[in-house]
Each structure stands twice: as C-alpha cells, then as structure tokens.
Amino acid sequence: MTPIPAPPIAWNALLPILVLAGTAMLVLLADLLPPRESKQHLGALALAGIIAALVIALVRWGTDVCGFRDMVRLDGYALFFDIVIAYAAALVVLLSMDYLRRRGAESGEYYALVLFAACGMMLLASAGDLIIVFLGIELMSLSLYVLAGLFKSRRQSSEASMKYFLLGVFASAFLLYGIALLFGAAGSTNFERVAAAAARNPHDTLLLIGVALLLVGFGFKISSVPFHMWAPDVYEGAPTSVTALIATGSKAAAFAALIRFLTTALRPLQPDWTALLWILAALSMTVGNVVAIAQTNLKRMLAYSSIAHVGYMLVGLVAGGPQGTSAILFYLFAYVFTTAGTFGVLTLCERTGGTPEPDGDGAVDVREYAGLGRRSPALAFALTFFLLSLVGIPPLAGFFGKFYLFGAAVRAGYVWLAVIAVLNSAVAAYYYLRVVVYMYMREPEGAAATLAPSFAGGLALAIAFIGIVLLGVMPAPFVELAQVAVAPLLR
C-alpha cells in the first residue's frame, strides 16, 4: 500500500475561520440541550465565537502565513477583512437576538448559519486561488440564501430567498465558467501563476473571456450595475437583520476577493479592467442614487443606496495604487458600521396600528418614521447620524471614506469619475435627508413606528455609533492600518 501524500495542513492560515466553524457546530449542538424555549444563550455563544475570531485576527496582526500550497493566505490584507467581517457578524448577531424573538422566528440554526456565512466571507478574504474564491462565495451565499428565507410563512421572505438563490446560482455559474477558461489560459488557478501567464500573453482571447465572466460573477456578488437586479427585492424581503449581513459582510468579502484577484492575478491587465470598472463605477453610482430617490420603502432605498456605495468603492479600484486600494478598505470599514447601524435602527422600530403581523416586518415605510424624533429621541438621533455618515457629512466616517476614495481618483487622473462621484453624493443627500426630515419635521399620520426596547440591539447601535464617530474623528490610524493591509498586494 503506497500512501498518498497529503498536503500539509496549515491550521495557522485558517485559524479565525476554524474558530468560527467550530463555534457554529457548537451552536448547533447546544441547540439540542435545554433550555429549548429561549435561544438567547445561542446568540451569546455565537457572539463569543465571533469575538474570539476577532481577537485572533487582532493578535495575529503583522504576520503572514501561507498554507495549502498557497491556496489560502492569512496576511495583513486578509486579517484586516477578518476584523471587518467579525464586526459585521457581531453587530448582526446582536441585532438579531431580540428581533428574532419578537418575530417568533428564533432558532439555533440562524446563529449557526450566520457563523458559516462569516466563515465563507473570511475564506474569501484570504483566498489565494480561484478555487478558494469559489468555495468561499458558495459557503457564504448558500448560508445567506437560507437566511433570507428565514420567515417561512411570509411570502416576501420566501420570494427573496428564491430570487437570491436562482440569480446567485446563475452568477456562480458565470464565475465557475470564468475560472475554467482562466485555467485553460493560464494552466493554473493560483493567483500568482495566473499573473505570470497574464504577463506572458496579456491579450490571450481565452484569458480575456475568462476575466470578463469572472467580473460578471463578482459584479453580482457586490451588486454593481448592471448585475444589481436582485438587490432591492432581496433586501426588502429578507429579515432586516439578514439584510444587514448581506449589505455589509457579503459585500466586504466579495470586494476582498475582487481586489486581491484584480491587483495580484490580473495586474498585467490593469489598463483593461480599469476601463471596464470605470464604466461599472459610473453606472452603479448613477443608477443606484437616481432610483433610490423614488423609493418610499426604507429597505429598498438602502438597497439602491448600497448599489451606489459599491460604485464609490469601484472608484477606488479604478484609481488603483496603494492610495485607491487602501481607501476602499477604509471605506468598507466605515460602511460596515454605518449600514449595520442603519439597519439596526430599522430592526428596533416596530409598526403599530393596523393588523399586527406576527412574522411581518418592522416599520419600513418612510412615512412611519414621521415624528420619531419626539417619540424616541435617542433612536432618531442615532439614525440621523448613520444617515449623515452615508451622505458623507464631515465629522463622520462616511466623509473621510469618500474623501480618500475621490482624492485617490483625482490623484490618479480620473477627474471625470471623481466629478461624477461628487455629483452623485449630492443627489444622495436628498433621499437620506428626507428620512431625517420625516423624523423631525412631520407629524405622524396613521400607523407610526414605535421603539421596541432591546438591550442587545441598543448595544449594537452603540458600537456602530462609536465606530462611525471614531473613524470620522481620528481616521489616520485606521487609514494607516488599511495601507499596511494592502502593502502585500502591491509588492
């Protein structure tokens, strides 16, 4: 019997992911034990696992480990995204604990699936090989498909799950076909070997078609125009806490893989993909912002606004270089806090009056927020700050994120793109500030949202709030972190 040589298992390179996966399985097992009525302790267990992963990522900062024949790489870049994803997952778990109980949809599987989705996201961040990119995207997406359909008896939720699944699988097929063609062109799926092949023959037809298909797949996952059709329906139908995860974590992770793939594997093709992304960025910003104006449903509005934010982040990718790339990382960090906070307020606002839906959604119509400033000042104050950060008002995180992104674009010579981005930010102010106007300057008519008190939710909002203020007041250390993180990519 001749033994088959197995590749050495580099536990180190997977440490945060393994902790999360282990916690997810523990959550599933703990779900079998009493107390079976309440699931709060499972949320706490999931949170403990996420914090452990976060601590590991912070402790390992500055190290660089490769494993599994360079398929997985836990360098500063991956660790930065691990931290971002851990924050996103932690905020989502905190927001979910009371939200799910009120909706009567508490389950241990929910927390386990959130953790598995976070595993997939972290795997994407440390992918050094297209196969791992695919694996990470599938692990993340499959969990999110199920989570989107969590409210089983609610039609919109099932519809969101089905739409997300069908379109997501379609996009995965594009991605996989792209990987296959790229493998045909380069003879390997490893980023570095793809880079070598691309440098030898940059305009190989097979390579270019493969890259185009891959960009379609990625475009779907980050929901950039014209691959954004799923976003509004899924954001609206999915439970609000799940929407927060889709909007923050999955976007950050897909960007993580996209940036690493483009800047390491496809650096020889930079002029080509830059031209392509220029168009995607301009389209995403414009379509996202213009369509968001017409929305009265807050979740749909935030979906279109997230499409616009993807456009801003693509501006950084077009600008390229250490400045543009690190600006995206900083922006994503700020975006995670801001968006999680905004959706957090939505989970805490409940619809009153009319027929109460046991598993329906909270208040999502902008009119229901009329007079919130008087009924629950703290919540209205927090939502105002989150929305101002999304607009990009100076002392908050969103401003510096945009400042660095657009600054990098101008410095790289993409003045027109920066102009489009700034004009779009001005358009965006309209629909974000409209919510603020409703909260402070309109009298409630008919059904109005009320506050559902929740300690965990309040804690999540507090963390997100501190996050956006901290990133806005002293951005320098975080920008430095982002610059250190992108250094290994741009060697």
């Binding site: 019997m1 599933l28 097992l29 079998l32």
Partner: protein, 109 residues
Amino acid sequence: MSFLFAGVVAAALLGIPHLLAPRRLTPVKMEPFECGKDPIEIAEGRFPMKFSTVGILFILFDIEMIFIWPWAVMYLQLGWFGFLEMLVFLAVLMLGFLYIVRKGGLEWE
C-alpha cells in the same frame, strides 16, 4: 473565428423563424401534449415535502456506507488506528443522528 461563426448560425436559427414563421396559437396548440386527451394533473405529480427531508436523510446515511465498506475490507491492515478513527467517524455521525431526532426530522405527522 469559429466562435463567431457558431454564434451567427445559432442566432440565425433562432431569429429567422421568429421573424418569418406565422404563429397562430389555438387552445389545442397551447396544451403540453397534443394527443387529444385533456391532462388530468401536472405530469410530475405532487408529493409532500416530507419525502424530500427523508430523502436527504437517507442519502446522508447511505453515503456513510462508502466509508465503512473499504474500512471493513481493510480492517486487519488498518489495525487499532483504523478502528479508533472509525469510532470517531461514527460518533460524529451519531451526533448528526441525534440532531435529526431532536429536531423532529423523523416525525412523519
């Protein structure tokens, strides 16, 4: 070049009939089978979702055999290490079984 040619041919095959062919839809033509008999129900039939759960569980425990069979064949060569490894594997599998039972996966009604 051949890609282009294939694309043109495929587009032509789909497009030309679309433009030229007359289209008169009658109720009979719209039926799934034009055999003169009215369909009674959906061709695939309907069955309860419960079967799908049971089907998945069956596959899970069926796949287990793929691992146990070669182990049983090589039992003597693998020795104590193989025996303990298989015990660990079966323990994990039993945990999954426990999970199914506690979650009511095997309750029919």
